[in-house]
């Protein structure tokens, strides 16, 4: 009998997500965004499995340098004779990794700070908010450059730098989401029941203020990818010769007059990825908006 109960409980618990999904799939542009994101993820995984980094991605082949797009090289070759299509496909991995891991870092730190600020209020809130304002006063790319300069240049430092840059955004989003929940009577009820602060934050406040944070995560991935490309373009991101899209743009820059495809394809890849994550974020925001619920 109790086993049955637990089963029912498990199936009921998902109802928030299923409701979200029901609202989400009504939105065609959001669905297009989701499909593209899924395709990009599949490409990243397959490129990683099927292509050999040393042989296909970075090995130079000077005989075939700067070939225009043809049936053999659909997107042409770059100044070292490497196939642009293969490199663009392989590069999806970097953008996704940077986008997702940096957002994970900023979401974890930022949301925790925001939850604490919103829940406790007073001096703690002021302290956290004012320091986020200081960080927001520094242009994000400049801040990332400073962090990269301090810790050296590698993929991990890039993720960390971008992650830290977006901490204030998450902190503010989370705090704003907590404020209306904090004064609800069920929080007071939990306190009367003897529930500790930490448990209240994670089991009552977080689930009830999750929607804006989820949206921010999706938008954050797009921002992270864009910032990573900025930094790589400036030569600060993933070290060459890795086929990061921003780095490829930067490499093709000198040839933009005669061989514009060198910059067009990686740029297009960035655009599509960022666009689809943004479409997803918009769709999620609409789906979580209670005013749209039937």
């Amino acid at each position: 009998m109790f086993k049955k109960k637990s089963k029912v409980r498990a199936s009921k618990k998902r109802s928030y997500m299923s409701e979200l999904w029901r609202n989400y799939k009504k939105n065609p542009s959001a669905m297009i965004g989701l499909i593209i994101v899924v395709v990009i993820i599949i490409i990243a995984i397959f490129a990683q499995i099927t292509l050999d980094y040393n042989q296909d991605i970075v090995q130079q082949n000077m005989k075939e340098r700067l070939q225009k797009p043809s049936s053999e090289h659909i997107m042409g070759t770059d100044q070292y004779g490497r196939d642009v299509l293969v490199r663009v496909l392989y590069g999806a991995k970097y953008s996704l990794a940077v986008g997702i891991i940096s957002v994970a870092i900023s979401c974890l730190i930022g949301s925790s700070l925001g939850l604490i600020a919103g829940y406790y209020g007073g001096v703690i809130e002021n302290l956290i908010l004012r320091s986020t304002e200081v960080f927001m006063g520094i242009p994000s790319v400049l801040l990332a450059i400073a962090i990269m300069a301090a810790f050296g240049q590698s993929l991990f430092v890039l993720m960390l730098a971008i992650g830290l840059v977006y901490v204030p955004m998450f902190a503010r989003t989370a705090r704003a989401a907590v404020l209306p929940v904090r004064d609800e009577e069920y929080i007071e009820a939990a306190r009367v029941s003897g529930v500790g602060d930490l448990k209240i934050i994670f089991s009552h406040i977080l689930p009830n203020s999750l929607s804006p944070i989820i949206v921010q995560v999706t938008m954050g991935v797009a921002n992270g990818i864009l910032t990573a490309s900025h930094l790589s373009f400036l030569g600060l991101g993933v070290p060459v010769p890795a086929p990061e899209w921003g780095a490829m743009l930067s490499g093709g820059r000198e040839f933009i007059r005669d061989y514009s495809f060198l910059t067009f394809y990686p740029g297009f890849a960035i655009m599509i990825t960022v666009l689809s994550f943004n479409l997803m974020g918009d769709g999620l925001r609409d789906a979580t908006d209670p005013k749209l619920k039937q």
Binding site: R191, V192, S193, N208
Partner: protein, 324 residues
């Protein structure tokens, strides 16, 4: 006054606002005997909910003393307060905002049990929750439903189940029925009454509705602008109201009989601001019997045994009935 479970002495709460000090609760004394019910009556904004929250120490009092079950809990901090809170619970006014919308009925009811480590095995907890649900009259099939799937009466039953889960000695009911339909009000009141008998609970019953409190309370305290203006056993208060405000409130209770003509004492104006109140009687501005003496604040004095009133003219007005 043999065995008080709760004594409140000179309890005061002032809030700082940008216009001055807001006297939410201004030096009130209350005594609640074990197993009895004290009705706390007053209009919106008179500080009755604040009083409830002060007693549970959800807000820190400015001054005053709270003695619960023989212990002075006024200065208790987190850890000690957590121990005490097992014995004091709260039933909230709004059954819609007092239940977490993301939690199932069973999760809500089991929360205090889990938070205080009363039961550890999940099957024990499930048994206890089912038992509590039966006690408050909730069908077992609602075990895994969410609050938004239920009506107001059922939701309030969930709140009551959560409040009695720890088998407390004392519950503050903050307008537990005012958000409900009249038919359901009676059910909930009967449930509360029954639980009091079964579990030996003591209640402070906060309400703005005197007709509700009449059937429910042993003692009634009438609050006005942060002060208690009259306190008496329920029967005595209804038979012999002394304070003009109490008289006015009582005259507003509808009598369900055709040939009884209602004679209402109307109160003029609206409740005055609790920010920086003056020296005069708090009710003076709205009182039909206000005289020069009322410019000085009256004390709450024992007029007849167990009957306290804070009015200078209580003696003169004694004979006056409603309709004046």
């Amino acid at each position: 006054m043999m065995d008080p479970i709760l004594e409140v002495k000179n309890l005061t709460k002032h809030f700082k606002t940008k216009y001055g000090l807001l006297h939410a609760v201004d030096g009130i004394d209350l005594t609640l005997e074990r197993g009895k019910t004290l009705g706390l009556v007053g209009e919106s904004g008179c500080g009755k909910s604040t009083t409830g929250r002060l007693i549970l120490k959800l807000i820190e009092p400015t001054t005053g003393q709270i003695i619960f079950d023989g212990k002075d809990i006024t200065n208790y901090k987190n850890r000690a307060m957590k121990e005490i809170r097992r014995d004091m619970m709260f039933i909230f006014q709004d059954p819609y905002s007092s239940l977490d919308p993301r939690k199932t009925v069973s999760q809500i009811i089991s929360e205090p049990i889990i938070a205080n480590n009363i039961l550890k095995k999940s099957s024990d907890i499930e048994d206890r929750v089912t038992e509590l649900m039966t006690t408050v009259g909730l069908a077992e099939r609602l075990y895994n439903t969410y609050p938004h799937e239920l009506d107001g009466g059922r939701r309030q039953r969930i709140g009551i189940a959560r409040a009695i889960a720890m088998e407390p000695k004392f519950i503050i009911c903050d307008e537990p029925v005012s958000a409900l339909d009249v038919s359901i009000q009676a059910q909930i009141l009967n449930l509360l009454k029954e639980l009091q008998r079964k579990l030996g609970l003591s209640y402070i019953f906060i309400t703005h509705d005197l007709s509700v409190v009449n059937h429910f309370s042993d003692d009634i305290a009438v609050m006005y602008l942060g002060k208690i203006v009259e306190r008496a056993p329920a029967e005595e208060l209804f038979l012999n109201p002394l304070h003009p405000y109490t008289k006015a409130l009582l005259s507003a209770i509808p009598v369900p009989e055709l040939d009884v003509k209602m004679e209402r004492i109307l109160i003029k104006g609206e409740i005055s601001s609790p920010i920086n109140p003056g020296e005069e009687c708090r009710f003076a501005k709205r009182c039909y019997f206000c005289q020069d003496i009322c410019m000085k604040e009256p004390k709450l004095l024992e007029y007849s045994p167990q009957h306290f009133v804070a009015c200078h003219r209580a003696e003169e007005l004694k004979g006056l009935e409603g309709g004046l």
